[in-house]
Symmetry: C2
Subunit: 303 residues, 2 copies
């Protein structure tokens, strides 16, 4: 039985897993993100014994970005222009690959999460396009379309969508350093904390914050539905875990679309169209394991 | 030499072409869109002699929508819920196919246009994702991603994006019957005519209409860039033919993105990133011919 590695490379913590499926995990390690040298050394230290014994077939990395995902590029596998101190232009993929000497799959945390939610949930296998949106410290969107994760000039950055902003109802200017009141500027966890001047987790259910939050998330989902016409959207991250928020978002999506998308998924079955993650908060790292399995398969196929 | 048919099925007119490439066209016919029976009869009448002689290998249809593009569906190839009188639930693809007895490719007018602009322009071949946006009577977006046109629950409807609308600067409520001030509601040809109470073609260059129009188109393009991270965007249709509008749109796209997308295509080479169509106003029908060629190839491959 071959084992696979999954790495969730986050801005604040790293999660490393060894296993072959969500219910067949062998070892897990979590540690805070330090400078690149220290952090990558800890990653390699964790996986090296498995690689040395020939048990580890491949590793997948689900990373914070932006990333260079162009396989023809000189800097393929790098974290590129991140504001995170010390992490600009770091060859995360290459350094792991050279140390472990096994195939390494590399993608954004959100593409990995989309991949994981599709791969490990049989009823999602045939759904394409398939979307994963996370609303937490940041807002990100992962996309599987025509069978593959979406990459392009860079990768999807739909967390920064320009959206309607009713300044009378919500005079908050937003927190995005690039755009002010883009989606992430208006609806990320930090924007909630700052607008209401308290930790969003302490806002009671009846606080108007939640209706406004549902509004922005729903507007973003409407634009995602128009852009990709997805067959399912997984809505994950910390913020949508607030009780009732999923339901508020679904109702507003229907209200905004207003009958324009004539599909039973939107009109009648929206509870199974916009869904919480099957893998809880482990979509990214389990997606990385799924990516590693696919990378292993492709490597076998191409040799 | 095999010939191929292209059909651009529009809400006001149909264009039918026979040929094998943009510079190797044999015959063309245009006629106004009447009721489905009359219109489809004219289409078949045009192509039948070529099909009968065995010269026509396949036909492609670039159609107004919405369409059923799910090959597993009972109503694959139908125009579905269109408001156009008489055209609801019309089996356009099936009726052409049964009459001509050759393979028929079927897609939206905008996906066909994207396909045509990529297929017939060598420097676009390797660009994926590749986008075509038209701004005219309606606003539509066609997408080629991971090698194929994007279909999903339905198909892309990014013409209806929800966008920032500054009601103080622009108190016009929009013309979209579903959404009011969505992109199409604020920036389509009919919205221009209505907002300024004159034919948009007669608005002088220095009229504030154009700055506002460029603003909405640019906001839409920014959201498309965030969603798809495309390698090139073709901006076609009647409205962007206004002198200088492309340039205004490009500058505003850069202003709105504000350095967030760290790619030379956006930062330095935007003139080759957002471009007018190579095929002028024939992207759709020549895209239909390209679709026919691909359908023919696939048919050979699968038999």
């Amino acid at each position: 039985m071959k084992l696979f590695g999954g790495i969730e490379a986050g801005g604040t913590k790293f999660v490393c897993l060894v296993g072959s499926a969500p219910d067949k995990l062998v070892e897990e390690k979590r540690f805070p993100t330090m400078d690149p040298d220290e952090t990558i050394a800890k990653v390699i230290e964790f996986f090296a014994p498995y690689a040395k014994k020939g048990e580890l077939a491949a590793v997948g990395i689900a990373s914070f970005g932006p990333l260079d995902l162009n396989r023809a590029s000189q800097t393929y596998g790098y974290i590129t222009t991140t504001p995170k101190p010390g992490w600009k232009q770091v060859d995360l993929c290459g350094r792991v690959k050279r140390a472990l000497k096994i195939p390494v799959a590399f993608d954004t945390d959100v593409n990995a999460a989309a991949y994981g939610e599709q791969y490990w949930t049989p009823e999602n296998h045939a759904l394409d396009p398939f979307l994963y949106m996370t609303v937490g410290t940041g807002i990100g969107v992962g996309v599987i379309v025509n069978g593959l994760p979406l990459h392009g000039l860079i990768h999807t950055e739909a967390g920064h969508f320009a959206l309607p902003h009713d300044w009378q109802r919500d005079p908050f200017p937003g927190v995005c350093p690039y755009h002010g009141d883009c989606l992430e500027g208006l609806a990320s966890g930090p924007s909630l904390n700052k607008r209401w001047n308290q930790d969003a987790k302490t806002l009671p259910d009846e606080h108007p914050a939640w209706d406004l939050e549902a509004e922005y998330i729903a507007l973003a989902l409407v634009n995602l539905i128009y852009a990709y016409s997805p067959l399912r959207i997984v809505l994950g991250g910390g913020v949508p875990q607030h009780a009732g928020l999923h339901q508020m978002v679904r109702r507003k999506v229907q209200k905004f679309i207003n009958g324009y998308v004539q599909s039973p998924m939107v009109l009648d079955n929206i509870d199974t169209y916009i869904v919480p993650p099957t893998l809880g908060n482990r979509s990214g790292v389990l997606g990385a394991i799924a990516m590693a399995i696919t990378e292993h398969r492709l490597t076998l196929f191409n040799r």
